[in-house]
C-alpha cells in the first residue's frame, strides 16, 4: 500500500472536519464546506418525498437506435416489404433533408427474429438481445417516447437537458445538485465515453452535454477518460512520488494558512480544503480504476471485453464501481447507432457491445443489494423510420431519424419491472397509446429520485428554472413500482 493510500485510509471524514474546525469556527466551516453538518449527504437538497432511487446509471445510445429492430415488434411489416409508407401514416410529418428528397418511402421490415420474454411477454429481438431478455420482468419497457428534435445535436441536447437549445443543465447535473455527494474523494457526476466496436457512423458528442448550464459549475459531469489520465491531471508528473506530493501540498497549505491569518479571506480556507481533497482524489482514483482486483467471475459476468479500457462492458463495470463508492450519477455514452445504411452490418455489433454488459450490470447490482435503489436508464435521442433510406433488400436497409416515437427502458431504482408502456401503430411511426414526451420521462426520473419536478427549481435569469421546462408535464405513475 502506498503512503497515499495509507494516508487516505486514515483520513476519516470526522478527522478531516475536526482538523478544519480548529482553524475556524464550526459554523463558518459549515459555510465553507457548503453543506450542513447535520445532513447525511453533504450539499444535498432535501427530497420532497421518499426517494426510490439513490443513484442513476444512464446509458445513452448515441445516434438513435432503431426501435422496430429491437423493442417495437411490428410483424405485419413483413407483408409490407418494399411497399410505400402510406400517406395516411406519414401525415406530411417533417423529414430530415437526408430523405425528404427520396422519390419513395419503401417499408423495410425488421430482418430480425423476435420472441416473447418473461411473464410480461415483452417482444424482443431474440437474435441480438438474448441476455437482456432474461430480465424482461425486471425492466420497465417504454415504447412511446417522442421528441420534437429530428437531428442529432438538438435531439441529444433535448434528451439530456429537456431543451433543444444548448446551455441548460443536464439530468446528471440536476441529480448532482439535488442529491449531493456521498463520497469525499470522488466527483458526484461522472461521464464515461465508451468506444463502440464498430465506428462507421459515429455522431457528435461534446462536453456541453454534461455541462451544468446555469447550475453551479461543480455540478458539471467529470469525464473519466479511457485514454491517458482517467481524470484530467490526476496523476503526478513523472519523478514526483506520492510522499513527495503530500509534502508539497502540506507546505502549500501551511503557507496558505499563514496567508489566511493575515488577510482573513474565507475562500483561502476553501482552497486549503480543495488541495486536501485533490490529494484524496489522487489517492482514491487509482484504486477505483484498477480492475485487476475484480475477481474472475466478474469478468465472466461482464465478458472479456470488460478488461479492455474504454469498451462499453468496461465502462459499465466502472459505473458499478463508481456507484458503489457513492457517485450519484454515471452517464455512459455509446456511439454508432445512427444507422442510415447497413443495419445488417452494424446492428449486431452494437447489440453485442451492450447485451451482455447490461445483463451483467443488473445481475451485479442485484448481487450487491444495490439494484433496488439504483436506476438504470437505456435509450437514445430519437427513433428511426420504418421506411428505408437508400437501398433496400430483405437482408439490409438503412433508416433515417424518426422523432415521433422511440423506445427506451429502465430498471431498478423504483422502475416498474415487467411494465410495457406505450404503443405505436403498425408502422412504428405514430404513437397510438400513452405517448411519453421526454419531459414526462424526466419528471418521472426526478420523482424516483425524490423530487417533484415542479418544485425542484433553480433561480436563473429571474425564473425558477426546471428540467422539465414550461409546458405541462406529468409524472407517469405507471412506470413506477
Amino acid at each position: 500500500m502506498s503512503i497515499l493510500h495509507e494516508w487516505n485510509a486514515l483520513q476519516t471524514r470526522r478527522r478531516f472536519l475536526g482538523k478544519g474546525a480548529n482553524a475556524l469556527g464550526a459554523a463558518a466551516l459549515t459555510s465553507l464546506l457548503g453543506r450542513s453538518l447535520a445532513h447525511a449527504a453533504p450539499g444535498a437538497i432535501s427530497t420532497q418525498h421518499p426517494p426510490k432511487a439513490k443513484r442513476v446509471i444512464y446509458l445513452h445510445m448515441v445516434g438513435g437506435p432503431a426501435q422496430m429492430d429491437l423493442f417495437d415488434y411490428k410483424p405485419k411489416m413483413k407483408e409490407m416489404y418494399d411497399k410505400d409508407l402510406p400517406d395516411s401514416i406519414r401525415k406530411g410529418q417533417r423529414l430530415t433533408t437526408m430523405t425528404s428528397g427520396q422519390a419513395r418511402f419503401p417499408i423495410a421490415p425488421s430482418k430480425y427474429n423476435f420472441s416473447q420474454f418473461g411473464q410480461c411477454g415483452m417482444w424482443l429481438n431474440s437474435d441480438l438481445l438474448p441476455n437482456l431478455g432474461k430480465h424482461a420482468d425486471e425492466i420497465c419497457w417504454m415504447r412511446s417516447l417522442n421528441t420534437e428534435a429530428i437531428n442529432h445535436e438538438p435531439a441529444i441536447c433535448a434528451m439530456q437537458t429537456g431543451n433543444q437549445i444548448t446551455g441548460r443543465p443536464c439530468l446528471g447535473s440536476w441529480a448532482s445538485y439535488g442529491l449531493g455527494s456521498e463520497n469525499e474523494n470522488l466527483p458526484n457526476f461522472v461521464v464515461l465515453i465508451a468506444t463502440p466496436t464498430n465506428r462507421d457512423q459515429e455522431q457528435a458528442i461534446s462536453s456541453r452535454l454534461w455541462s451544468s448550464g446555469y447550475l453551479p459549475g461543480e455540478h458539471a459531469g467529470v469525464s473519466f477518460r479511457s485514454k491517458g489520465d482517467p481524470i484530467l491531471f490526476i496523476n503526478n508528473p513523472p519523478g514526483v512520488p506520492d510522499d513527495l506530493r503530500k509534502q508539497t501540498i502540506d507546505g502549500i497549505n501551511q503557507l496558505n494558512r499563514l496567508n489566511y491569518e493575515t488577510v482573513g479571506d474565507p475562500e483561502t480556507h476553501t482552497r486549503i480544503k480543495q488541495y486536501e481533497m485533490a490529494f484524496r482524489m489522487q489517492a482514491s482514483v487509482p484504486e477505483l480504476t484498477d480492475l485487476t482486483k475484480e475477481p474472475e467471475h466478474v469478468f465472466k459476468l461482464y465478458g472479456e471485453e470488460a478488461r479492455k479500457r474504454g469498451s462499453f462492458a468496461n465502462s459499465v463495470l466502472m459505473a458499478r464501481r463508481l456507484v458503489e463508492r457513492g457517485v450519484r450519477f454515471v452517464q455512459i455514452y455509446h456511439n454508432n447507432w445512427d444507422h442510415h445504411a447497413n443495419v445488417n452490418g452494424r446492428m449486431p455489433s452494437q447489440c453485442k457491445d451492450i447485451d451482455q454488459p447490461c445483463h451483467a450490470l443488473i445481475e451485479d447490482l442485484k448481487q450487491r443489494g444495490m439494484f433496488d435503489d439504483t436506476l438504470i436508464v437505456w435509450g437514445g435521442e430519437f427513433g428511426r423510420t420504418i421506411y428505408s433510406q437508400g437501398g433496400l433488400s430483405r437482408e439490409n436497409y438503412g433508416r433515417d431519424h424518426h422523432p415521433r416515437c422511440f423506445s427506451m427502458w429502465m430498471a431498478g431504482g423504483g422502475a416498474k419491472g415487467g411494465r410495457i408502456y406505450g404503443e405505436t401503430d403498425e408502422f412504428s411511426y405514430n404513437i397510438v397509446k400513452d405517448p411519453l414526451p421526454i419531459n414526462d420521462f424526466h419528471a418521472t426520473v426526478l420523482h424516483l429520485l425524490g423530487y417533484d419536478h415542479e418544485r425542484f427549481t433553480f433561480k436563473y435569469q429571474g425564473l425558477d428554472q426546471k428540467l422539465t421546462g414550461v409546458l405541462p408535464t406529468k409524472v407517469v405513475k405507471a412506470l413506477i413500482s
Binding site: 459554523a27 459555510s31 457548503g34 450542513s36 445532513h39 437538497i45 433533408t97 445535436e153 444548448t166 455527494s181 458526484n188 465515453i193 455522431q203 457528435a204 462536453s207 456541453r208 453551479p216 459549475g217 461543480e218 477518460r225 479511457s226 485514454k227 489520465d229 484530467l232 491531471f233 496523476n235 503526478n236 508528473p237 513523472p238 519523478g239 514526483v240 513527495l244 509534502q247 508539497t248 507546505g251 502549500i252 503557507l255 496558505n256 499563514l258 496567508n259 489566511y260 493575515t262 488577510v263 482573513g264 479571506d265 482552497r271 486549503i272 480543495q274 488541495y275 481533497m277 485533490a278 482524489m281 489522487q282 415542479e454 418544485r455 427549481t457 433553480f458 435569469q461 429571474g462 425564473l463
Partner: protein
C-alpha cells in the same frame, strides 16, 4: 464537491430551510435588518421584487399565461378595474384593496397565490405591501428602463478619503452600515494588482523596481497615475481587455456543432485587441461591430469588426434544415445583443412574451429582423470559410497584385467576350455537323507520354505491364467498367512518367474515393525505401496533394489543397508542375477548376529521378488507394488552363453532343469549341485563367475572416415564429427596437446601422449602464448589478444605483473613453484598499458587494496560465495570428464531434503565447482553462463562474505547462548567485512581488531540505521531473538541485495569494 462564492439559492422555503443556516444569517445581515418595514416604501426596492417573484407569472407581461386579465407589471394594472370589476388597489386603504385582501384571506378558493403555484408570501412581504398601499401606493417604472439620473455626490463621514468621485458613493454606503474602508494596500501589492488588472500579467521585476517608492511607503497619487499610464500603453493592455470582450462575443476557432471543424475568424480577434489598444471610443467600437459594413465606404477594418455577429455557432449537420439554422443563428444574435448591450434576457421571448420584463415575442422578432437580412447561408460546409461571407486579408507583399487583379480580370473577360463574339459564327457552322468522336481531336496531344483508359472490365489493362493483387472491376465506372483498388492492388505503368524533380509534367485521372477520410496514391513514381524519392499525386483525407521529392523532407516539395477537395463521387483530378523546383510551381485542379493549395514543404534543392516504375494506385510499396481510378493521362509538360478544362469536360461534352444538346449544353460546347479551335479565344481564355489562378493562390495563402453582409435588395424583416419554431411563421414584423424602449428615430436607417446608432444613443437607457457595470466587474469581481447580463425586473438590483447612473453618464459624456474609465477606477480610494477582511466585514459585507475592502478573488483561467509563463520568463510577446496549441492531455479532442480530430500541440514559441491566442474548439475548449471556468464560447458569456475545486488544484500541480514553468523559474533562480535564503527570497519576489516573511521562509526551507534529500537519493526521479516540457533543462545545473527547486517553485505558483489577484 466545491463551494462557490456566487452560488445562487433556490427560492422555495422547503429548500432554503435545508441550506446553510449561517449563509442565511449572513444574507439577512447584509440586506440590513430585513424584517423591519422601512418608513418610506420604495416601489422598485421593496414591492416590485415581491410581485415579480410571486405574482408576475400569472399577472405579468405575458398575456399567454395571464389570469383574470390582471396585470401587476404596469401602473394602470393596480388602479384600473380588472375583469372582476374592482381596481386591485385603493390608494391609502389596504383594507379596501382586493390585492391585499386576497393575500390575507383564509378562504382557500380566494387566497393568492394559489397553492398550485407553489408560491407563498412571507408575513414580512405582506406587511410591506400593506404599508405601501397605506402610503398611497406610489409606483415607479423599472429602474433600468428610465434614463440614468445624475445624482449629486453624497456627503460622507470623511470626504477627504475620496480620490475620485466614485469613492463618495462607496463611502456613503459604508457609512450607512457602519463599516470603515480598509487601509490602503502597500505599494507592492497595489502595483501587482494594477498590473494584473491593466495587462492581465504580473509586473515585470523592472517595472516593480521602477515604481516601488524608495521610502517603502504607499504610492502617491502621481506615482499611481504614472504606473497606470505606463501599463495602459503596453500592447498587453489590449490583449487583456480583448479577452473579456471575446467571452461576450463568443469568439472561437471552430464552428461549434457536429464536426466542429476549424473556422477562420482570428483576424476579428486581433481587431478587438487593436481596438482596445488604440482606445477606440466604445460607441464607435460598437457601431463598427454591429454595422461596420453599412457605414459609408467601410474600411477593411470596419468590415472585419462585424465578425462579432459571425461568431455564433453554426452547423453543417446532414439533415438539418437551412431555414431552421438561420432562425437559430438570428436568435443567438438577439440573445447576445440582449446580454451584452441591453442587459435584457431577450432570449426569454423567443417562444413567448417575456414573463417579467416588458419585452414581447414581437419585440424579439423585430430585433431578429435586423440580423436576418444577410447573405449568410444556413450550412457552414465544415470548412474554414463557413461558406461565407468572408473577406480575405492578403499580406503586404500580396496587396498590390490582389488589388490590381479584379480590374485585370475584368479586362481579360472583355477580351474574352469579344473573342467569343467573333468566333461564334464558326461554332454555329461546326456544330451543325459535329459528331461526338470529333471531340477526340481536341485532346491535347503534345507531349502526351501515356494514356490509360482503364475500362477493359477484365484482365491486365492496356498500357500496364504488371499488377499487384488483381484489381476487381466495378461495372458502373466513369467511362465503362472501372478498376477498384485496395491495399495490395496496383497497376504498374513502367517507364512512362519518368519525370525528374526539375522537369515539368502533368497527371490527370478520374477518381472515385471510397472514403473522404481515406489516404492513397492516385498515380506516382516514388521509391519508398529511398527517402520517398520521386513524385506522387495523392489523396489525403478530404484533400489532394502532390509530392516532388529528392529526399524527404529536407529536399522536397509537398503541396496540398486546402478546402475539402475530395468527395466520394467521380471527380476529375489533375496536377501540373512547371519544373521550377518550387511549391508555387504546382497546381491542382478538381473538375477543371483550380483548387486553392498550400505549400507545406518547399525545400527542394537537388535534381533527381526515381529508379522505380510509374504506378497507379500505390507508390513503390506504400500508400494504396481505396476506390476507382480511370482515364489516366501523363504529359511531360505543364498543361495550359484551357487544356485542363478540355480534359475534364470532354466526357460530358461527348454525351451532350450524342444527344440533342439543350441551351446550357450548347453553351458548354461553344466554349469548348472556341477554346480549342479559335486562337483569339484560346489566348484570351488562358490569360484570364492565369490571372484567376493568381488570385486563387493569393486567396489560398491569405487569412480570411467572417463578416456580416447585408442583402441590399430587401428590407430587414422577420416573421414571428410561433413558439419559436422555425416552420410556424406568424406575423411579419419590420426591424425595430424593443417597444418598451421607444422606436428608432424616423430618419434612422431601418437596418443594423440604425440599430447600432440607437444602441449608443442617449435615448437608450441601458447600454452605458450595462457597459460600465461590466468594466466594474472586471476590476472588482462583481458588478454593481451582480447579474451583468440581466438588468431586467428579475435581475439583481444595483448595490449602488446612484453610482451606476453617475458612471454611465460620465462614461457617455466623456466620449465613451474606455481608458479614461478604467483609470478613474484604478486610481480610486476604493480600489486602493487592502484586501483585508475582518470578522465584522464578513458579517456585514460577506461578498464585498459594498467594497468595504480591496478586491481579492481567484483570477481567470487565462491570467493564471499567463502569470506562470510571465514569472518563469517564457511568455512570448508575439501578438495575433492563428490559434496556438499549447500542451493538452491526450484524447480531449478525439472524443468529441463527428469524425476524429487529433489535437497536435505546437512546439517552440507557440507553447508560450498568451492564453488569449489559444485555439478555442467549442466542443472541447482548452482543458486546463475549462477547469477554471473558462466558457466554451458556445454562447455569449458576460459573467464567468468562479468555482474553487480540487480539479483546479490538480491543474496547478500537474499540468506540464505549470511544471515546466516551475522548472524554468527554478533555473533562473539557481543561475543567480546567493545561498538558499537569498534564492528563496528572489523566487518569492518574482512570484509574489514581495519578500518572504520569516514564517514562510521556515516552511519553504523545510520543503527544500526534504525535496533535496529525495532527489539526491533518487536521481532517476530528478531526471524524470526535469524532462517535462518542450524547453530543455539547463544541463549546467545539478539535476537533483534543479528538481528540488522546481518543486519549491511549483509550491509558490500554487499559493492562494498567487491564484488570487
Amino acid at each position: 464537491m466545491t463551494t462557490s462564492a456566487t452560488r445562487e439559492r433556490p427560492p422555495h422555503p422547503p429548500f432554503n430551510q435545508m441550506r446553510q443556516p449561517l449563509a442565511l444569517l449572513l444574507l439577512a445581515a447584509s440586506l440590513g435588518a430585513a424584517e423591519v418595514v422601512p418608513e418610506k416604501i420604495v416601489f422598485n426596492r421593496d414591492i416590485r421584487p415581491i410581485l415579480a417573484d410571486k405574482c408576475f407569472h400569472c399577472h405579468g407581461p405575458d398575456p399567454g399565461t395571464r389570469k383574470a386579465g390582471l396585470r401587476l407589471d404596469t401602473e394602470a394594472g393596480f388602479f384600473v378595474a380588472a375583469e372582476s370589476g374592482d381596481a386591485p388597489v385603493v390608494k391609502g386603504d389596504a383594507a379596501k384593496s382586493p390585492l391585499y385582501q386576497r393575500l390575507i384571506t383564509q378562504d382557500k378558493d380566494d387566497h393568492m397565490p394559489p397553492p398550485e403555484s407553489h408560491k407563498e408570501l412571507k408575513e414580512h412581504e405582506i406587511a410591506l405591501l400593506k404599508a405601501w398601499i397605506a402610503q398611497g401606493a406610489p409606483w415607479q417604472p423599472h429602474w433600468s428602463l428610465v434614463a440614468p439620473q445624475a445624482a449629486p455626490l453624497p456627503r460622507t463621514s470623511d470626504d477627504a478619503w475620496a480620490k475620485q468621485p466614485i469613492d463618495r458613493f462607496i463611502r456613503a454606503k459604508l457609512d450607512a452600515v457602519g463599516l470603515k474602508p480598509a487601509p490602503e494596500a502597500d505599494a507592492a501589492t497595489l502595483i501587482r494588482r494594477v498590473s494584473l488588472d491593466v495587462t492581465g500579467l504580473p509586473p515585470s521585476p523592472a517595472l516593480l523596481a521602477k515604481h516601488l517608492p524608495k521610502d517603502a511607503g504607499r504610492l502617491s497619487d502621481a506615482q499611481l497615475s504614472a504606473l497606470v499610464d505606463e501599463l495602459m500603453a503596453l500592447p498587453a493592455y489590449g490583449e487583456h481587455r480583448a479577452r473579456y470582450w471575446l467571452d461576450a462575443a463568443r469568439y472561437a476557432d471552430s464552428h461549434g456543432l457536429h464536426f466542429d471543424a476549424y473556422r477562420e475568424m482570428w483576424p476579428y480577434r486581433d481587431w478587438v485587441v487593436k481596438a482596445f489598444n488604440r482606445n477606440q471610443p466604445f460607441d464607435q467600437f460598437t457601431v463598427e461591430q454591429l454595422a461596420g459594413d453599412l457605414l459609408p465606404n467601410p474600411t477593411e477594418d470596419q468590415r472585419v469588426a462585424t465578425g462579432l455577429q459571425r461568431c455564433n455557432p453554426t452547423t453543417n449537420e446532414g439533415g438539418t434544415i437551412v431555414e431552421e439554422n438561420l432562425a437559430n443563428y438570428a436568435a443567438d444574435r438577439v440573445q447576445t445583443l440582449g446580454w451584452v448591450y441591453l442587459g435584457l434576457t431577450t432570449n426569454c421571448a423567443q417562444c413567448h412574451d417575456h414573463k417579467f420584463d416588458p419585452f414581447s415575442q414581437k419585440d424579439f422578432y423585430s430585433m431578429a429582423a435586423f440580423f436576418r437580412n444577410t447573405t449568410q447561408g444556413g450550412l457552414d460546409g465544415n470548412v474554414k470559410d463557413g461558406r461565407g461571407p468572408v473577406i480575405y486579408l492578403p499580406s503586404d507583399a500580396d496587396r498590390p497584385r490582389w488589388n490590381a487583379l479584379p480590374a485585370e480580370i475584368a479586362k481579360g473577360n472583355e477580351q474574352l467576350a469579344a473573342a467569343r463574339k467573333l468566333g461564334t459564327p464558326l461554332f454555329e457552322k461546326w456544330i451543325a455537323t459535329a459528331k461526338p468522336a470529333d471531340l477526340d481531336a481536341d485532346i491535347p496531344a503534345k507531349d502526351l507520354v501515356a494514356r490509360l483508359a482503364l475500362n477493359e472490365g477484365k484482365g491486365l489493362p492496356a498500357g500496364t505491364t504488371a499488377a499487384g493483387d488483381p484489381v476487381t472491376w466495378n461495372k458502373a465506372g466513369k467511362t465503362g467498367p472501372a478498376p477498384v483498388f485496395k491495399k495490395g492492388s496496383h497497376l504498374v505503368v513502367g517507364d512512362a512518367g519518368d519525370f525528374g524533380t526539375r522537369q515539368a509534367f502533368s497527371a490527370a485521372a478520374w477518381i472515385k474515393a471510397d472514403k473522404v477520410e481515406g489516404t492513397g496514391t492516385i498515380v506516382a513514381r516514388m521509391d519508398d525505401p529511398k527517402a520517398a524519392q520521386g513524385w506522387s499525386f495523392f489523396q489525403s483525407g478530404r484533400n489532394l496533394g502532390v509530392y516532388i521529392i529528392s529526399k524527404w523532407p529536407s529536399d522536397a516539395i509537398k503541396v496540398v489543397t486546402t478546402r475539402n477537395a475530395v468527395n466520394t463521387a467521380y471527380q476529375h483530378v489533375l496536377m501540373t508542375y512547371d519544373g521550377s523546383g518550387k511549391a508555387a510551381g504546382v497546381k491542382i485542379y478538381v473538375n477543371g477548376a483550380l483548387a486553392e493549395t498550400r505549400g507545406e514543404v518547399d525545400t527542394l534543392k537537388t535534381a533527381s529521378k526515381a529508379a522505380t516504375p510509374t504506378r497507379i494506385g500505390q507508390r513503390s510499396l506504400s500508400e494504396p488507394f481505396h476506390g476507382s481510378i480511370q482515364d489516366v493521362f501523363l504529359y511531360s509538360r505543364a498543361l495550359e488552363p484551357g487544356e485542363v478544362t478540355t480534359l475534364s469536360k470532354l466526357g460530358t461534352l461527348r454525351q451532350s453532343l450524342a444527344g440533342k444538346p439543350n441551351a446550357q449544353q450548347r453553351d458548354a460546347l461553344r466554349e469548348h469549341f472556341l477554346l480549342n479551335r479559335h486562337e483569339p479565344f484560346r489566348l484570351a481564355s488562358n490569360a484570364v485563367a492565369r490571372l484567376t489562378a493568381e488570385q486563387t493562390m493569393i486567396r489560398a495563402r491569405s487569412p480570411l475572416t467572417h463578416v456580416q453582409e447585408e442583402k441590399m435588395d430587401s428590407p430587414a424583416m422577420a416573421n414571428v415564429l410561433v413558439r419559436g419554431a422555425y416552420d410556424k411563421k406568424g406575423d411579419a414584423v419590420p426591424a425595430e427596437i424593443p417597444s418598451a424602449l421607444g422606436k428608432l428615430p424616423a430618419d434612422a436607417p431601418r437596418n443594423r446601422l440604425g440599430l447600432a446608432r440607437w444602441i449608443v444613443s442617449e435615448a437608450n437607457p441601458l447600454t452605458a449602464r450595462v457597459t460600465v457595470n461590466r468594466m466594474w466587474q472586471e476590476l472588482f469581481g462583481t458588478g454593481l448589478v451582480r447579474t451583468s447580463e440581466d438588468f431586467g425586473i428579475m435581475g439583481s438590483p444595483p448595490s449602488h444605483p446612484e453610482l451606476l447612473d453617475w458612471l454611465a453618464i460620465d462614461f457617455r459624456t466623456h466620449g465613451w473613453d474606455v481608458k479614461r474609465f478604467y483609470r478613474q477606477l484604478l486610481t480610486s480610494a476604493t480600489y486602493r484598499q487592502a484586501a483585508l477582511t475582518t470578522k465584522e466585514k464578513i458579517e456585514k459585507d460577506r461578498d464585498n458587494a459594498l467594497l468595504s475592502r480591496g478586491p481579492r478573488f481567484r483570477m481567470d483561467a487565462e491570467m493564471l496560465r499567463d502569470q506562470a509563463l510571465a514569472v518563469s520568463g517564457t511568455l512570448s510577446p508575439r501578438m495575433g495570428g492563428p490559434g496556438t496549441k499549447p500542451y493538452q492531455p491526450e484524447n480531449i479532442w478525439e472524443v468529441v464531434g463527428v469524425g476524429i480530430q487529433v489535437y497536435r500541440p505546437d512546439t517552440g514559441e507557440n507553447l508560450y503565447r498568451r492564453s488569449l491566442y489559444n485555439y478555442w474548439r467549442r466542443m472541447a475548449p482548452p482543458a486546463s482553462l475549462d477547469l477554471f471556468n473558462a466558457p466554451s464560447r458556445e454562447v455569449s458569456c458576460v459573467r464567468r463562474d468562479r468555482t474553487n475545486t480540487p480539479l483546479q488544484a490538480l491543474v496547478m500541480l500537474n499540468d506540464p505547462q505549470y511544471v515546466e514553468a516551475s522548472r524554468i523559474l527554478a533555473q533562473h533562480t539557481l543561475l543567480a548567485a546567493g545561498d538558499d535564503l537569498a534564492r528563496l527570497d528572489a523566487a518569492a519576489r518574482r512570484v509574489l512581488c514581495r519578500p518572504l516573511k520569516p514564517a514562510e521562509t521556515a516552511i519553504l526551507t523545510g520543503s527544500l531540505a526534504k525535496l533535496r534529500a529525495h532527489y539526491v537519493a533518487q536521481p532517476a526521479d530528478a531526471a524524470a521531473l526535469l524532462g517535462i516540457g518542450d524547453a530543455k533543462a539547463d544541463e549546467s545545473l545539478p539535476k537533483p538541485e534543479l528538481a528540488a527547486w522546481t518543486m519549491v517553485c511549483n509550491q509558490l505558483l500554487n499559493l492562494d495569494e498567487i491564484l488570487n489577484k
